[in-house]
C-alpha cells in the first residue's frame, strides 16, 4: 500500500473506530475527553497543513486556538448571533489571523518563524488575559451556546460528539483533497527543499501564506467547537505548552501524514488524563518521550506502519520469486 491509498484506508479505519468508541466508553469524564480529542483532531489538521506538509514549525497554535474560541464565545454571548454564523466567523477570523501573521513572518525561515510564532502566542495570551472590557480578563466568558439545527440543540454530549465527528470527517476529506491537489505538491516541495521549489517556479512565500491561512480556517472551526463544548472559556488554557502539544501530535503520528496527525491528537488528548497518577512527573516523562521519538522514530507512528508494510511486501515478493524458481 502506498501514499494516498494508505492514508485513505487509515482515515476510514480511524473515523470508524472513533464512531464506535463513544458508546463503548462508560465513564462520563472519558466521553468528554473523547469529544475534546475530536476537537483537537480538527485543530491538528490545520497544523498538519502548515507543519506536516509545508514543514514550518508553527509554535503559535495556542494563539489561533485562543482567538478562535474567543471569537465564537464573544459573538454568541455579547452580540447574540447564532452558533453557525459565529462558527463561520471564528474560522474566517483565525484564517485572517493566518494571513496577518503569515505575510510578515513567512519570508523568514526556520527559527525566526518558530520564535516569532511563540511571541505571537504569548502576546495573544497576554491580550486575552488583560483586555478585560472585551475578553472578560481572567474570568473568561460564560454561557457559550451549544450548536443547533433550527430548534434542535446539541445539549446532549453524545449528540455533540457525533456532530463534531461528522465535521471532523468532512474536514479530513477536504484536507486529503487539498493534499492531493497541485497545492499539496507545492506544500511538500517547500517542505523538502525550499530552494529547489523556488527554482522550479513555486512561489514558496505565497504557498506558505496559503498554508497558514488554511491552517487558520481549520483551527478556527475546532476552536469554536471547543468553546461550545465547554460553554465556558478562560485565557490561562492557551499556553505555549499547548502549542507544543499540538506540534508533538503531528510529530508522534508522523510528520506529513494526515492520519498520523489524527492518531497523535487522539493519543495526546488521552495520555495526560490516563497518566494523571504520575502527577508532576508526567510532563518530565512527556518531554523525554518526545525526545526519544525525535531521535529514534522521527517518522512517527505512520512512518513505522509504512515501514512494516513495505518490509512485508518485500518479503512477500521475495517468497514469490523463490517459488517461481523452484
Amino acid at each position: 500500500m502506498r501514499g494516498s491509498k494508505l492514508r485513505n484506508v487509515s482515515l476510514v479505519v480511524i473515523f470508524a473506530l472513533l464512531a464506535c468508541a463513544e458508546p463503548l466508553i462508560a465513564s462520563r469524564f472519558y466521553k468528554f475527553v473523547l469529544a475534546l480529542a475530536v476537537i483537537n483532531v480538527i485543530m491538528v489538521m490545520g497544523l498538519h497543513i502548515i507543519f506536516g506538509l509545508t514543514g514550518q514549525i508553527f509554535m503559535g497554535m495556542a494563539g489561533f486556538w485562543g482567538i478562535g474560541s474567543y471569537i465564537l464565545a464573544l459573538i454568541t454571548t455579547r452580540l447574540g448571533l447564532g452558533f453557525w454564523p459565529a462558527l463561520l466567523l471564528s474560522s474566517l477570523g483565525v484564517g485572517l489571523m493566518g494571513l496577518v501573521l503569515g505575510i510578515p513572518t513567512l519570508r523568514l525561515k526556520g527559527y525566526y518563524l518558530s520564535i516569532t510564532t511563540i511571541g505571537f502566542g504569548e502576546i495573544t495570551r497576554f491580550i486575552l488575559m488583560n483586555w478585560s472590557p472585551v475578553t472578560g480578563g481572567v474570568f473568561g466568558v460564560f454561557n457559550i451556546p451549544r450548536p443547533n439545527f433550527g430548534s434542535f440543540v446539541f445539549t446532549n454530549d453524545a449528540h455533540f460528539y457525533y456532530f463534531s465527528l461528522v465535521l471532523a470527517a468532512i474536514l479530513a476529506v477536504i484536507a486529503s483533497i487539498l493534499e492531493d491537489s497541485k497545492y499539496g505538491t507545492a506544500f511538500k516541495g517547500v517542505r523538502d527543499d525550499e530552494l529547489a521549489a523556488d527554482a522550479i517556479g513555486i512561489d514558496s512565500t505565497g504557498i506558505k501564506v496559503m498554508a497558514f491561512i488554511t491552517c487558520g480556517l481549520f483551527v478556527g472551526i475546532g476552536a469554536g467547537l471547543y468553546s461550545s463544548l465547554l460553554t465556558y472559556i478562560s485565557p490561562e488554557v492557551f499556553t505555549l505548552e499547548e502549542s507544543f502539544r499540538f506540534v508533538t501530535m503531528v510529530l508522534i503520528g508522523g510528520i506529513g501524514s494526515l492520519p498520523g496527525a489524527i492518531v497523535g491528537a487522539v493519543l495526546l488528548t488521552f495520555l495526560p488524563e490516563m497518566l494523571r497518577f504520575l502527577q508532576s512527573w508526567y510532563l518530565a516523562i512527556y518531554g523525554l518521550i518526545v525526545l526519544g521519538i525525535v531521535i529514534y522514530q522521527p517518522a512517527g507512528i505512520m512512518g513505522a506502519l509504512q515501514g512494516y508494510l513495505d518490509r512485508r511486501m518485500i518479503a512477500a515478493r521475495r517468497e514469490g520469486k523463490e517459488y517461481g524458481a523452484s
Partner: protein, 294 residues
C-alpha cells in the same frame, strides 16, 4: 531632577538585565555558528544554572558565592556536553528542524524535572549584596546591578582573549567558519562542537547565577531564553558584538516599557519589537548577517 534620577536608575537596571540577555544571546550564537542550529533550551539552561546555584549550592549546602559560582559553571559545562550528545549528536545529519524539536523537548523536560527537584515555590537567593544599593544624589542603584555589569565586562574580555589567543579558541572559530575545512586541517570538529555547547551552557549558567538575586529562581526564569533570542535578532544573528548590543537594547526596552507603558505588557512589547525587526530589518542593527543564513 528626581525624574532624571529615576531615569538613571532605570538605565542601570536595563543595562544589567540586558547584559545577561546578551550572555544568553552569545550562547545561542556560538552554537548557531558552530552547528547551524538554535538551542531552544538555552533559557532552560539559565533556569537550571539558577537552581543549581541558588537552590542546591547556596541554600542547601551553604557555599559562599565564588565556589558556588564555579561549581555551577562546571556542572553546567558538563551538562552542556551531555545534552549535546543527546539532542544534537544523533541528529547531526538530520534536518535542523528535528534538532529544534529535540531542544524544545529537552526544555520541557528540564522545566518539569526542576519542579520536582526544587519544588513549585520560587527559590529566593540573597546574593552577595541582598537589596542594598548605592545612593548618590537621590539615585539609588542596587549593588547587584553594578556587580552584574562588572562580571559581564570581565567575562567578555576573557572571552575575547580566549578566542583570539588560545588554540582551542581558534579551533572553535575555525569550526564555526567552515566545519569541513577545519576537519581537513586536523581539528576534531565534534570535540570542538561539544566544547562549544559546554561554553554556551556555562554562559547560560552564569546568567542564571547573576540573575538569581534579582528575580527569584523559578520556571519563569526560562523566559530569559526568549529575551536572548530577541537580542540575537535585534543585534544581528551570528555576530558577537551584535548579541551584546541586542541584549542591552532588550533590557532597556523591558525596563522602560515596564515603567512607562505597562508592566503587564512588557514582554509583549519586547516581542512586538522583535517582530518589527523581523519585518523591517531582519539583518539586525549591525546588519552583517544575511537573512538567508537562517
Amino acid at each position: 531632577m528626581a525624574e532624571l534620577a529615576i531615569v538613571l536608575q532605570q538605565i542601570v537596571a536595563g543595562l544589567a538585565l540586558g547584559s545577561i540577555y546578551g550572555l544568553v544571546a552569545l550562547g545561542y550564537n556560538f552554537i548557531f555558528n558552530a552547528v547551524g542550529i538554535v538551542n531552544l533550551a538555552q533559557g532552560d539552561f539559565v533556569m537550571l544554572g539558577g537552581y543549581i546555584y541558588g537552590g542546591t549550592l547556596t541554600l542547601l549546602l551553604g557555599l559562599p558565592f565564588l565556589p558556588a559560582l564555579i561549581l555551577t559553571a562546571v556542572a553546567m559545562a558538563i551538562f552542556g556536553i551531555v545534552s549535546q550528545r543527546i539532542v544534537y549528536y544523533p541528529l547531526r545529519d538530520a534536518h535542523p528542524r528535528m534538532v529544534m524539536l529535540s531542544t524544545i523537548a529537552l526544555g520541557i523536560f528540564l522545566k518539569n524535572i526542576s519542579l520536582i527537584a526544587w519544588g513549585t515555590y520560587p527559590v529566593s537567593v540573597p546574593g552577595l549584596f541582598g537589596q542594598r544599593g548605592l545612593r548618590i544624589a537621590g539615585v539609588s542603584i542596587l549593588y547587584q546591578y553594578i556587580f552584574i555589569l562588572v562580571c559581564v565586562i570581565i567575562l567578555l574580555a576573557v572571552q575575547q582573549f580566549f578566542f583570539r589567543k588560545t588554540t582551542l579558541g581558534k579551533s572553535m572559530r575555525a569550526v564555526a567558519q567552515d566545519r569541513l575545512a577545519a576537519m581537513l586541517m586536523g581539528i576534531d570538529a565534534y570535540k570542538v562542537i561539544a566544547i562549544t555547547f559546554a561554553y554556551s551552557s556555562t554562559l547560560a549558567a552564569i546568567g542564571g547565577v547573576l540573575l538569581a538575586p534579582v528575580f527569584m529562581v523559578s520556571q519563569v526564569l526560562a523566559n530569559v531564553g526568549l529575551k536572548g533570542f530577541a537580542a540575537c535578532v535585534i543585534g544581528g544573528w551570528g555576530d558577537i558584538t551584535g548579541a551584546v548590543i541586542g541584549g542591552l537594547v532588550v533590557g532597556l526596552v523591558e525596563v522602560f516599557s515596564a515603567s512607562y507603558i505597562s508592566s503587564v505588557y512588557k514582554d509583549a512589547i519586547v516581542f512586538a519589537i522583535l517582530i518589527g525587526f523581523l519585518i523591517f530589518r531582519p539583518q539586525g542593527i549591525l546588519g552583517r548577517a544575511t537573512e538567508e543564513s537562517l
